[in-house]
Subunit: 330 residues, 2 copies
Amino acid sequence: MSEAARLMEAAIRLSRRGLGRTAPNPNVGCLVVKDGIVIARGWTQPGGRPHAEAVALEAADEAARGAELYVSLEPCAHVSARGPACADLIIASGVSAVHIAVLDPDPRTAGQGAARLRDAGVSVSVSEGEAAARAAMAGFFSRMERGRPRITLKLATSIDGRVSMPGGESQWITGPEARAHVHLERALADVIVVGRGTLEADDPSLDVRLPGLEDRSPRPAVLSATLDAIPGAAKFAARDPLLLASVDDLCGLAVNDVFVEGGPATASTLLAADLVDRMLVYRAPIVLGDGAPGVGRLGLERLADAHGRWRLAETRTFGNDRLEVYARTR
Amino acid sequence: MSEAARLMEAAIRLSRRGLGRTAPNPNVGCLVVKDGIVIARGWTQPGGRPHAEAVALEAADEAARGAELYVSLEPCAHVSARGPACADLIIASGVSAVHIAVLDPDPRTAGQGAARLRDAGVSVSVSEGEAAARAAMAGFFSRMERGRPRITLKLATSIDGRVSMPGGESQWITGPEARAHVHLERALADVIVVGRGTLEADDPSLDVRLPGLEDRSPRPAVLSATLDAIPGAAKFAARDPLLLASVDDLCGLAVNDVFVEGGPATASTLLAADLVDRMLVYRAPIVLGDGAPGVGRLGLERLADAHGRWRLAETRTFGNDRLEVYARTR
Ligand SMILES: NC(=O)c1ccc[n+]([C@@H]2O[C@H](COP(=O)([O-])OP(=O)(O)OC[C@H]3O[C@@H](n4cnc5c(N)ncnc54)[C@H](OP(=O)(O)O)[C@@H]3O)[C@@H](O)[C@H]2O)c1
Ligand SMILES: NC(=O)c1ccc[n+]([C@@H]2O[C@H](COP(=O)([O-])OP(=O)(O)OC[C@H]3O[C@@H](n4cnc5c(N)ncnc54)[C@H](OP(=O)(O)O)[C@@H]3O)[C@@H](O)[C@H]2O)c1
């Protein structure tokens, strides 16, 4: 792996620190490198500003002159009320070269950031790390390219696909290690969604209860066509919850990452509409038999229609449980 | 690992060659070793005779004199109409030392084989490899210690635990690689069982269709309390199929390994009775929604009752599918 590829990889890894907190902006990562040494780093700050480049250049200060910049996404070309265009900041900083992992799909930038830099005499390369950068900013790319957030569906299930006992008991299917990992995944999302059924059955908190990450709880949302308002008794009522009357409302959210924790009706409605991009299946080594299934009617006609949609991308062990990460194939 | 442990491991591995073909006898493996060199090998032959020791000693012939024998199970002490006691054969062969992985639980031998050898001046050690030998002869030990065969349940299922479409379509959930592995597992069982529902829905062949292993098809059996006879139209009718009127009939089979391929009613009845020792879950990366569940009513009262019974012992990848092997914990 070349030095440039290694540095870009580090910038992309840095970009992940913003996951779940930068919407509607992308979560970008940036390094300032001089004489082969990383002299400053930046990533998009909570709320989406300042941008990664602004943070890194501010930290580098005068040392940026003549340095090279590695950034996971094309620097923006548009001035906004909330801050200057990063392309202009970079030009003013005296940076001599900018390495970009992937061009910005946002039409307000889309190649114009790179062009403005080149016009000002800054050397620009777009070469290393496109796939990794897209993966790290998958929610943002989903919104730009498909007009909706990336949707992750989480299921905590038995070997036989059940998510609760026949009587409704569902705490707990999986053990504490798996549940802690769910909280980590929540922290990486902008919005967490449950259906009204789960709200009523489980009275969930929908927060992140991991030491040091308590402030990273995503915004709670409830999917319901019948509720008029989120009940004030909900545990998350103080966290400005959203009421989503339909899947369209969910898809219209101006955020990058939506984390759906069920229940079955919500899972089926999203799966049937082919709106799930990633499934996190936490599987406990138990057999429940006739409990509630994790997924309901999908309306598939033939078995062949079910094939080819999913790829087992990763598995991990958490205590006695196993996480299966499925990624959509198309 | 000591030389003795390594040799015993090889003897145990050899024992697996007899799996599915030696019942009601155990599948034993045996090495004859002289001056650190393996001069002969044997494993229990189809039908259970000759025994592993007899095969190995016959191959070693005069060279056995002064050699050491590694055998996965205590040599038998009982003369039968079908052959001499292995302990006597060993004494006659002039072997100087016998290494045994595990004593025979069969009351007709149970320590008497080792005693007879010692009485005749043969050095006997029972030390290395007990756990591995028990695992390799798990079916035989199940029958001796619990009075029933080892029962393996196979499920071919979706992410959400479905084994067929709502309309019944179930060919195929998993791909050709996983299905080939099922045939390999069939070859290691003495008897293969389906419920009447599966017989009628799928008209299965219940044979081993792997090149070179066609003669290793287990004996077919159908579980049904209502059938009077196996229908002559069944694809396996010519292979002397068994009709099992109850789970007791199944447990009473004088064989080591029973392989159960479903369907759901049969799976539940065995799981509810806590009679399944091993589950092979071939999981396809598909979501089916409201198809038929792989397991039906188990009658569990509380979620806690479902926990602690299973351990994920192994996972393997077959094409797009994944095999999860669950072992009972108690
Ligand atoms: N183990 C796990 O991973 C897990 C996770 C969550 C829940 N659960 C269990 O699942 C059970 C709840 O199941 P459920 O199926 O009733 O729950 P659910 O999906 O949480 O809620 C169903 C409700 O969500 C709303 N909804 C779903 N799709 C919609 C759409 N397209 N547009 C508008 N609203 C929509 C509807 O609310 P309206 O009727 O108000 O329109 C619907 O009645 C509980 O027992 C819970 O414990 C298990
Ligand atoms: N994907 C897979 O791994 C897989 C594997 C197999 C089958 N399947 C599917 O499963 C479906 C068939 O389901 P099913 O539940 O009807 O099938 P099943 O379990 O094959 O058959 C049920 C029948 O087995 C007999 N039985 C079960 N437990 C018994 C007991 N304790 N004592 C005596 N007899 C007992 C009963 O027969 P009597 O009524 O005659 O007493 C019962 O009606 C088919 O659609 C098939 O394609 C899928």
